[in-house]
Amino acid sequence: MTIGTLVFGVAFIVALGSAIAMLFARNAVHVALFLVAAQVALALTFLLQGAFFVAAVQIIIYAGAIMVLFLFVVMLLGVDRSEALVEPLPFQRPLALGLGALLAAGILYLAVAGIDAASTITGDGSGALLALNRDPGNVLALARVLFSRYLLPFEATSALLVAAIVGVMVLARRVGSISAVAPRISPAEEREVA
């Protein structure tokens, strides 16, 4: 058993455990914290597979920025609210569990049985990836791919982000501030409307 296997085992257990714990945590803050744990564990698996930069981004942006945003909203809406355990919709839980299990079974089958078939096509790319990480370095190699072959999608994501920012600003404005901008209705018109 090498150190890599050991690290994977730990990451595996932490990620899966946190995910399951998310299912049962009643408090939203706890759910968020378990998610952070799972994401950190996932960052470990990224590291194990030579994706150093992605792992760093995973921790900084996902586990850091996005989760802070989540926690912020949770706090804004009130921490003390916790969900009731009673499921109001009939069949929702058994259906979700059953179908989820079926889905998992399908993907697992693919992951275990199909991956061998896939390996015959791809071969083991570990060596090539190691070489890339060593020679130009992970970040540099990544940047070269991102800014050459994926330049157009990259630019497109910038448009997506701008749209998201504008959308959020429109959505989050207080109703009062909207009416302040909207044309005022004269008293006569108001009576007419009434």
């Binding site: 996932l42 030579g50 909203v73 949770v74 969900e83």
Partner: protein
Amino acid sequence: MTEVAPSYFLVLAALLFSIGVVGALTRRNAIVIFMFIELMLNAVNLVFVTFSRMWGNLDGQVLVFFVLVVAAAEAVVGLAIILLITRRRESANVDDAHLLRW
């Protein structure tokens, strides 16, 4: 590079994804549902990284960035919507918003 076979990572991803699905469908708090969706996206990221390793190139890792961007945008807009709903209905429970029906 680890000697752990790619299948193991994929198995982890499959399990996390399925847990995400079940959680998104069974929980009622909108924010929590969102977190499960983030979990599913993370599982997908893991798959991309694993495939990147199998092919021996960096395309999979680049795709992780795109998933990340989309997830960020989606989280921001989604949270804003949740915020609005909560402001109006005093609840983040998705079951409370079921007016649009027969």
